[in-house]
């Protein structure tokens, strides 16, 4: 089902003409409203009037997460605070989040694209949507919430946690749609099984799953266990939140990017060179219509490929492949973004811990686990078991407080974590994601 025929099925020429018009307006706007971009454009020797074709996009500088951090909290905003109606934030380094803002029009855009997202999965007025993404600073919960209301369906704002209660609500409120991370979907299936719930007899029909990497194999499993169509969604808070890309239920072949709002490019992350359709590389997104926080060529660090071939569902907008990995060292653990440097910063607060650590990521059952291995040197050592166990617990608590992710800390002998001359291998990711190449 297509919610916005005009914007999702334009001939490519018309779409590109619209994108160019919006890009020109965007560059004009950020040049005059965001000192950061004025500086960057001046450095690059580009004036707004130099943007004559979409190919001129390549002359524009990229924007990184670090740029957002450097302008913490609101330095990149292009709208005055009295126009900003909402703030969200993603996790940042040791407690400092990356805030994002929305004008009323941005919220409207977001609601529209989530309505499109839901329709791509066949959701319509009369459906009941169980939103189990977290509500709060995280964009998942409220993002979906507004889109469901826009579509005219019924939203159940369950948020995260309390799995057994959620299963009870699924049985009693009869939702037809569920929005949650893929790992939570499988966890629900597991707990439901323990409770003796037969999902074939629940009302669920389709699921919208994202915020963490997953695989075709996981899709098969979610679909079989929950007896639903499981769709991959894409989004990131810097761009808007969920709603940037969605698979259609007809094809499940790549995620449609709402190109009238988000202009995708694929680059080689090392050389920043633009790559042709079909080649895997880092996804860049330019926000064509965002008012509060417009971004030029934002480096998502997500590795994927782009295809512009129209889809069997009738959409002409481009599609990205299922994410293949990251071009930086960010880990996504149960939907929470974690950078090794954040863990390191926490460890450094404990006297006596050697600066040698390693992160082991695994998937136990369906949930990601993160083990932090830390070398114990003499200053931290004790001959009493309970002292060492308390040390491990204190580190675990501190990481949980800062990063909101539960980890297991394992104390290891000195010199057991491999040293390297150049970049230390901080992360060992043992999660097996079929279909993920990077």
């Amino acid at each position: 089902m297509i919610y916005d025929i005009e914007n999702e099925t334009r001939p490519r020429e018309d779409l590109e003409a619209l994108q160019l018009k919006r890009l020109q307006a965007l560059v004009e706007r950020v040049y005059h409203l965001v000192p950061f971009y004025r500086r960057r454009l001046d450095e690059a020797g580009v004036k707004p009037e130099n943007i004559r074709t979409l190919a001129d996009l390549e002359r524009l500088p990229c924007t990184t997460k670090q740029d957002l951090r450097d302008n913490y909290p609101f330095g990149m905003f292009a709208a005055p605070m009295d126009q900003i109606v909402r703030l969200h934030a993603s996790s940042g380094t040791t407690g400092k989040p990356t805030p994002v803002g929305y004008t009323a029009r941005d919220i409207n855009t977001w609601s529209e694209i989530i309505a499109r997202t839901l329709a791509a999965g066949g959701v319509h007025r009369g459906d009941i949507v169980h939103v189990a993404y977290g509500y709060g600073l995280f964009t998942g919960g409220l993002g979906f919430h507004y889109g469901v209301e826009r579509l005219g369906a019924t939203v159940i704002p369950v948020s995260g946690g309390q799995t057994r209660r959620q299963i009870m609500l699924i049985q009693d409120f009869s939702p037809t749609v569920i929005c949650c991370t893929p790992s939570f979907a499988l966890y629900l299936a597991e707990v439901g099984q323990e409770m003796g719930v037969d999902f074939a007899r629940t009302s669920l029909r389709v699921g919208f799953h994202g915020a963490e990497p997953w695989s075709e194999a996981m899709r098969q499993e979610i679909e079989q266990r929950l007896k639903i169509d499981a769709l991959d969604i894409y989004g990131l808070s810097e761009i808007i939140g969920p709603g940037v890309g969605i698979e259609c239920v007809e094809a499940k072949q790549g995620l449609h990017i709402f190109e009238d709002h988000f202009l995708p490019e694929i680059i080689n992350p090392a050389t920043l060179e633009r790559l042709p359709p079909g080649d895997a590389g880092e996804l860049l997104i330019t926000t064509l219509t965002k008012e509060a926080l417009p971004l030029l060529r934002y480096r998502t660090r997500d590795v994927t490929s782009l295809t512009l071939t129209p889809c069997v569902c009738g959409r002409t907008i481009g599609r990205i492949s299922r994410l293949q990995g990251r071009s930086d060292d960010m880990l996504i653990i149960r939907g929470v973004n974690v950078f090794p440097s954040q863990i390191e910063a926490v460890l450094m607060e404990f006297p006596g811990l050697a600066p040698h650590y390693q992160l082991i990521v695994e998937r136990e059952g369906h949930l990601d686990t993160l083990e932090v291995q830390v070398e114990v040197d003499e200053a931290a050592f004790s001959d009493e078991v309970k002292q060492l166990q308390q040390l491990a617990k204190r580190i675990e608590r501190q990481i949980k407080d800062y990063l909101t992710v539960s980890v297991k800390v394992r104390l290891v002998e000195p010199r057991t974590i491999p040293r390297s001359e150049g970049k230390a291998q901080r992360v060992i990711d043992r999660r097996r994601l079929e279909g993920a190449k990077a």
């Binding site: 001959d383 078991v385 002998e413 010199r415």
Partner: protein
């Protein structure tokens, strides 16, 4: 009246204990008593050796994390109720035993037991008042 104990951090994996004993053996260090406290993730090996400084040096040289703890070696009558009588004295005085382990060697007719207390000085004072024999470091290393 205190005895120096060397403790070694060990990961809970095959061959670590063998490695420690091999290193000590090659250095000519004799282990007088030992205990291993283990959890699912790691273990702490506690040793009384005849040459403390040498043992510490060779283990550190091989990259082990080692610690020093002062413990007390107590003579306990080798008969039923022998240990119980010593523990009763400590318990009456409210002294907490962090851990304890037995010596391999006997001293005459009696057993030697290593104790780790949270309050070492007080424990020593009490044991002496009660006439319980505590070995000196030299005695223990020579046993």
């Amino acid at each position: 009246m205190k005895v120096e104990q060397i403790s070694v951090f060990l990961e809970n994996k095959a061959g670590r204990l063998a490695e420690v004993t091999r290193i000590l053996g090659e250095a000519g260090v004799n282990i007088r008593a030992l205990s291993l406290a283990d959890t699912t993730d790691f273990g702490i090996l506690r040793l009384i050796v005849d040459k403390y400084d040498l043992a510490r040096e060779v283990l550190k040289g091989k990259g082990f994390t080692v610690g020093k703890t002062e413990v007390v070696a107590i003579e306990v009558p080798d008969r039923p109720g022998g240990l119980a009588s010593v523990l009763a004295v400590l318990s009456r005085a409210g002294i907490n035993v962090e851990y304890m382990y037995a010596f391999v060697q006997h001293s005459g007719k009696n057993a030697v037991i290593i104790f780790r207390f949270d309050n070492l000085e007080e424990a020593i004072k009490l044991l002496r008042q009660e006439g319980i024999h505590i070995y000196s470091g030299e005695e223990v290393y020579r046993l």
